[in-house]
Structures are given as structure tokens and as C-alpha cells.
Symmetry: C2
DNA sequence: ATTTAACATGTCAAGAATGACATGTTGTCA
DNA sequence: TGACAACATGTCATTCTTGACATGTTAAAT
């Protein structure tokens, strides 16, 4: 399961509580890579602890439990990460699905959708570029993490932006996608 | 649910059997947008038929059932597609997750992974470019569909390729992601 | 004639994810 | 002092997805 590896990976960069991990999943990792809410994170942390891949290093205020990866967990994470690309890897993206189904719409609706997509991704790329530019080099424990993710996101938005512009051009030509 | 809309969308472009839809999901749509196997497709077609969004237009050899979208189904599809971007849209991508967890590895392993990613995406982009270039304009019923998806895929691979090269550069600098 | 591959559909148990519900704490502002 | 927002964890029923199993047909090659 990928969620377990996502948690292992985040904890390997820096120990954290379930609550902090939940917030992490609201950032880039959840937007581009893997979504998860606290209702799946908490039970999964429990299972990882039961398997000896993570452990609670200390309990803080409000019942907060800080988890850290064990050596065994780090081993498991490394072997998963270094595996060759899995051809049956999970892929699920509702937004991209919408784009792929464009051809099912009338040309006028297609243009409407593509224009929206182009605008949205253009804006998103610009905003993200600004955020990444202002990030202090060597900030928090996940600074490198955020930088990599940010650069990934920028390129992602730009790619979709370029695609939407290209598609608009080609639909305009003959009224067909 | 997105699977129902994916099926509705594919059928809206051209009527098809469950078997044909299953093969469709092994192509670009399954690789970039939404995965599904026949074990989820067949029951879902049944549910869509029960809701009156699709119907069987005729039964062919080997028990094959050809489905088509009803007016109601087309309506439902259109309203789903034209919805504003959903901030809680499902996102799940195992490959991208691996990239995001790079920081959890030692610099040497990071470089290994990034080099692999760069090579793989570079090759994939080139191959896909060749496939798209040789596609006959105005081929089958889903020709436009394949073209859009192909162009999307090319840009996707290129974006990840560029990102991996950028990341390799930055890790090389100071041994940190 | 037989075998094999591709065609074609289906069920069902097990596992994963979501959304609704539930509970209690700590710090801050009025 | 009281209210509120943010902190922090959890359960559970429902829904969705996967993988194993099951069944039968048609066309082509041997």
C-alpha cells in the first residue's frame, strides 16, 4: 500500500505527529501525489507501529504522539523507493480525467473548458513560482522537500497550460478535438 | 464517483462494449487519468444502465453488449465536466509519490533515482512523440481523443524529465535535496 | 481435429478510503 | 469568564477497488 510508504517517507525526513502529517497531506504531496485524510492516517500509523516500522518517540500536549521511523522502517522505505517503475502503479486524477473526456463535449464547451484550464494553470504556475522564489534557502526541516515539490508543481502547471493552449489551437482549426 | 463519469465520457465519444472499454483503460486514460479493470467496469456499467444513463444498443457475438449513452447520461456528463475545478478532487499517483519522497534517501540514492527517472521519462517522451507523429489524422472514432491524450502525455513526460534534470543539478551542488 | 489466444462477461471476498460522528485540550481574544 | 479557533486523536458504516476465481465463445494455426 502506498499510504504506508508515504507516511514512512515523511517521517524519515522529520519525525511528526499524525496531526502534522495530516496537514502535510494538504500541501503539495496531497495535491500532486497522494491524498489522505486523518481518518486513514491515524489507523495507518497504528498499523505501522504494530509492524515495527515506526514508533512513538514521545507524547506531548493534547495527547499528541510524535512518531519516528525505525531502522526497519527506513529499510522498507528505501527498498520500495528504489524499486523499478511499477507498470501497475496506481494512477487516479479526477482533474486530468476531465481533460481526457473533453472530446465528449461540443466544440463550444470544449473551448470553454480549455480556456478555463489554461487560465487556471497559468495563474497557478505564476503563483507557485512566486512562492518558491520567496522561500528561504535552508528553512525548516522539510525545506528541501518543499523546494523539490514546488519545482515539480511549477513544471506540472506549465505543461498543462501549454497543452491547453495547443488544444485550443487545434479545436479552433476544424471544430473537432 | 469518477469511474462512472469516465465510462459515460468514453461512451459519449463512441458506443462500446465493456470489453472494449477495459482495453481503453489500458491506454493513456488509464496511465494518466483514471485506472480501472474489468472487475469494476462491468458492475459499474450495470449500475449506470439501472440509473438510465446508458443502455445496451445491441448484443453481439460471444455475449458482447454494446452500450451507448442516453440523453440523460449526456446531460449528467456535461454538467460534471463543466463543474468548476473541485479542490477535493481525487489525486493518487504512486510514481509521483516516489519522487516526492526522494528527500528521505541518501544523496547517492537520490541521484540514482533521479537519473533513472530522467532516462525513463526522456525515452517515454521520445517514443510517444513518434507514436503521435505517425497517427493518421482522422483515423478511428477516438482519433481526436488519442491525439489530445498523446499530446498531454508528451508534455507530462517532458515536464518530469526537466524536473529530474533540475533536481539532479541541485542535489549535486550541496549533497542535499 | 485440437489446441491456443483473444474475445467477452461475470461474482465475490478482502482490503482501502471517505464522510459522519465523537471527544477532549490549549491558547487567545473580548 | 466565556467563547472560539486550532490542536489532536479516534471509531465506524458505507463505498470503492482489487485480485482470485469462474465460465463460455470464436478464429486461427498446427
Amino acid at each position: 500500500m502506498s499510504l504506508s510508504h508515504a507516511l514512512l517517507g515523511l517521517l524519515a525526513v522529520a519525525p511528526a505527529s499524525g496531526y502534522e502529517l495530516t496537514k502535510e497531506f494538504e500541501q503539495e504531496i496531497g495535491r500532486y501525489a497522494w491524498q489522505a485524510g486523518h481518518t486513514s492516517i491515524y489507523p495507518e500509523l497504528g498499523k505501522l507501529a504494530a509492524r515495527g516500522l515506526v514508533h512513538v518517540t514521545h507524547e506531548g500536549a493534547r495527547g499528541a504522539k510524535t512518531y519516528d521511523v525505525t531502522d526497519e522502517g527506513r529499510e522498507e522505505l528505501r527498498s520500495w523507493l528504489l524499486q523499478p517503475p511499477n507498470p501497475t502503479a496506481t494512477v487516479r486524477n479526477e482533474q486530468v480525467l476531465r481533460m481526457f473526456l473533453l472530446s465528449a463535449l461540443e466544440p463550444a464547451d470544449q473551448r470553454l473548458m480549455l480556456t478555463r484550464i489554461a487560465e487556471h494553470t497559468g495563474r497557478a504556475a505564476t503563483e507557485l513560482r512566486a512562492v518558491v522564489a520567496t522561500e528561504t534557502p535552508g528553512g525548516g526541516p522539510r525545506a528541501g522537500f518543499g523546494r523539490l515539490a514546488g519545482e515539480f508543481g511549477i513544471r506540472q502547471y506549465e505543461a498543462v497550460h501549454e497543452w491547453a493552449l495547443w488544444a485550443l489551437d487545434h479545436i479552433a482549426e476544424d471544430g473537432q478535438a
